[in-house]
Amino acid sequence: MLFFSYFKELVGKEVTVELKNDLAIRGTLHSVDQYLNIKLENTRVVDQVKYPHMLSVKNCFIRGSVVRYVQLPPDGVDIEILHDATRREARGD
């Protein structure tokens, strides 16, 4: 639940999602769910020339299981809060 809560805090921020098939998509985080499926709005593909089929896609749903990385803005996280939450989760709270 920790990362689900963490991503909920990031809704509205600009992120870049890199998928396991090497496709990288930049967009605004619209929503996330317990499987860490991601919905992005205002999407644009990082390498548009390589993926012409994505030209008219502006919103997308990404299955959590295919995500490799989620790249965040540098001010996207309050490290202290994240550390506390991690310690609590590790304790089995």
């Binding site: 998928l19 749903f61 299981s65």
Partner: protein
Amino acid sequence: MSWAGFDPFYGTSLAENLDKKLLVILRDGRKLIGILRSFDQFANVVIEDAVERIIVGEQFCDVSLGLYIIRGENVVLIGELDPAREELPSHMQRVSYKMIEEARKAEREATELKGSMRKRMEFLDLE
């Protein structure tokens, strides 16, 4: 999905995309385009009037598939196609199935050739 009791899709519901023309990218690289008619918590989807868009270089070809049920584990991405925008760059050419298959074969052979040449050079240990 409140009729299903506990809503497993808190946040990312595909309900907003129902009856819309969508692009589905599969794990094997296939791109299917069609109308979303149904979905579930595993991202299993039903796509009506599905078309596979095969793209090789600057050429593409659409193959009609009909009504499809896609098992969720194969789904990479489901994208909403903006009807106001061009689905593909205008310089791309629509070709026949025969031509796109030949282009695919040529591309595959070129990659294999590059791979085999690289293997032959490996013993040189240039790097």
